[in-house]
């Protein structure tokens, strides 16, 4: 748990005069499940785009999987996985074709792709679905598969951008089980979510508001610090503060 796979130091990202990320600093350790919370427009997406090599910081030091976010974005991309709210699978391709496609994009050898495909299918009891179109699969399966595809090339970090949006509680529960499994295998999970119960599952969470990280700790510590029973309460106190409370939080 001690090796740092993400280090961010004084990250600033400006769009014109608008400051989307204001002096962010945090570190994420290998194998950690790191929750990234914040209201819409708080700057989460901007930060994720920078961490995944899609856009460059305005200033600050950012290292992802040991690579520099200014100059080594190509290297970063090879070492991360990504899954977004909209499923990243092609609906008019079969399960097998999707896996071969993504394996190929990440430069995996054919034999390795085949091997991973078999592992995956037997792990998820998926064999009958191998040649089915994604559009024929139920939502829960699609989502599991999308996650499996995101970690197919065994990246150091996987970014999950609201992966459980619009999914029923049971499926979400199952999904988190696969997240745990992945993280116990040494892959760092960087997840954004709207569901506060999910935030409780994370090893550590950070809460962003108006471009700044206003809280960063384990869920238990945060609850103590803000004298709240749940993370939801913490979040409401921080992200939607009225002015009086805001002064208290704004340290």
């Amino acid at each position: 748990m001690n090796e740092k796979v993400i280090t961010v130091h004084n990250l600033v990202k400006k769009f014109g005069s608008f400051v989307a990320n204001d002096n962010l600093s945090f570190e994420v350790s290998s194998g950690e499940i790191f929750g990234f919370l914040g209201a819409n427009g708080a700057g989460k997406t901007t930060a994720i785009r920078i961490l995944s090599g899609l856009s460059k910081p305005t200033s600050g030091e950012v290292t992802v999987a040991g690579f520099n976010a200014y100059r080594q974005t190509e290297e970063i991309k090879k070492n991360i996985g990504y899954m977004c709210q909209k499923f990243s699978l092609y609906e008019d391709l079969t399960v097998k074709e999707n896996i071969i496609l993504y394996g190929g994009i990440y430069g995996m050898k054919k034999t390795l792709i085949r091997q991973r495909l078999d592992e995956l299918l037997s792990k998820l009891h998926f064999h009958e679905f191998e040649n089915r179109m994604i559009s024929d699969l139920p939502l829960g399966l699609r989502q599991k598969l999308a996650f499996a595809v995101a970690v197919l090339h065994e990246p150091k970090i996987v970014f999950l951008d609201e992966p459980t949006g619009g999914v029923d509680p049971i499926t979400r529960r199952q999904f988190w089980e696969s997240i745990y499994e992945t993280s116990s295998g040494g892959i760092t999970v960087f997840v954004t979510t709207h569901y506060m119960d999910e935030a409780e599952y994370c090893d550590r969470i950070s809460i962003m508001s108006e471009g700044k990280i206003v809280a960063l700790d384990t869920p238990d510590n945060l609850k103590k610090q803000f004298t709240s029973a749940t993370i939801e309460e913490v979040f409401i106190k921080i992200a939607r503060p009225n002015h009086l409370e805001k002064k208290k939080v704004d340290y």
């Binding site: 899609l54 190509e74 990243s88 391709l93 496609l101």
Partner: protein, 369 residues
């Protein structure tokens, strides 16, 4: 490279799995060619013809008789002077007027040559060209019959063809080049803009961008299959137009195919540009259809000659790529001219391709920022 090929393969799978895409890609062009082909090549029957016989001798009567009895024409009226031509056309039933000059028969016998004029209603270009061609053929036939076998005196009647209302009607089959021009820009621009916005809409574009594939590879991978299929389409259209209505390529086939490739490339870059400015598929389809199809049909010279347009439309059409390609393709296919005559238009298309590419790259970068 292997990554890239896998990606290209996936794009082909998308195309072949979606029957709608296939219909748009191959069904519509074939249908258009067939529809236009048959519309153009249908034989004329009983087209109204008026006769203005200024000579009124035995030969003109015979020739008139031959023309009318051919089955293609029916006499609507006998005119007495030139002033009546305009009137008879305005009535609408008459599609052409055949005019015999003064002393037609005498001249033909004494000088071995005489002229007759065919004035056709150019507002219906296809009928007009057909009528004039048929008449000219009948006249030639008539002169061979008149010339005695073995005699050295070959008689010549010069048919002088004039178009009323539309004097610039030049080519016989203006539709095939027009259809190729329209189809290619529509399909290439529409398909690429839709296929790229689809990735955006489904969220797969984000995943691709985060992957080690470079943005250039993503775009090329998406566009390449369409480039290949469009090229197949060109071959299909050319073959169809050759089989269905005997339209050969007069000029160099290689030059024609090369120019088609340039035009396809231009259309694809235009499609990419459209995809960068539209946020969903509906928008992309709308821009492609309304923004490209109507102007191409109306302003590119496909149907209506640019020379006859008010100046403002002329200027407007000069920003339309199809305008230049129509000139190129007509020149090669129908007139059989070489590269020397079309290098300017080719250059314009090449510059447009570069401009569209540049704009798309800039837009794309802004989006990534």
């Amino acid at each position: 490279m292997k990554r890239f090929l896998g990606f290209v393969k996936k794009e082909f799978l998308h195309i072949f799995r979606d029957y709608r895409t296939l219909i748009i890609l191959f069904g519509i062009p074939a249908a258009q060619i067939l529809i236009f082909g048959y519309a153009v090549s249908t034989d004329i029957k009983n087209a109204g013809v008026a006769i203005l016989d200024l000579s009124h001798d035995e030969i003109t009567l015979k020739l008139t008789d031959k023309i009318i009895s051919s089955g293609f024409f029916k006499k609507t009226q006998t005119l007495l002077n030139y002033d009546e031509i305009d009137k008879v056309f305005k009535k609408g039933k008459t599609k052409a007027v055949i005019i015999f000059e003064d002393d037609f028969g005498k001249k033909l016998i004494s000088e071995n040559k005489a002229s007759l004029s065919i004035v056709a209603d150019g507002s219906e270009p296809n009928t007009a060209t057909l009528i004039t061609n048929y008449t000219a053929a009948i006249v030639t036939d008539f002169t061979t019959e008149l010339s005695l076998p073995g005699s050295n005196n070959t008689l010549r009647i010069n048919p002088d063809v004039k178009m009323f209302y539309n004097p610039n009607l030049k080519s016989h089959f203006m539709f095939v080049p027009g259809v190729i021009t329209l189809i290619l820009i529509l399909i290439c621009a529409l398909m690429t803009s839709v296929t790229i916005t689809r990735e955006k809409e489904f969220g797969t574009m984000e995943v691709l961008l985060v992957s080690p594939l470079r943005p250039v590879q993503i775009i090329l991978g998406k566009v390449m299959p369409y480039f290949m299929l469009s090229f197949v389409n060109v071959l299909l259209i050319l073959a169809l137009s050759w089989i269905v209505f005997d339209l050969p390529v007069k000029g160099s086939l290689i030059l024609l195919l090369a120019e088609c490739m340039l035009y396809i490339l231009m259309s694809l870059t235009l499609g990419i540009l459209i995809s960068t400015v539209s946020s969903n598929m509906q928008q992309a389809i709308f821009i492609s259809l309304i923004g490209l199809m109507l102007p191409t049909i109306l302003l590119s010279g496909f149907i209506f000659p640019i020379e006859n347009m008010p100046k403002i439309y002329d200027y407007l059409s000069s920003i339309l790529p199809p305008r230049y390609f129509i000139v190129i393709i007509k020149n090669i296919m129908i007139k059989g001219t070489g590269f020397m005559y079309i290098w300017k238009e080719t250059l314009v298309l090449a510059i447009m391709t570069l401009v569209f590419t540049g704009l798309s790259v800039r837009k794309f970068k802004i989006r990534l920022e």
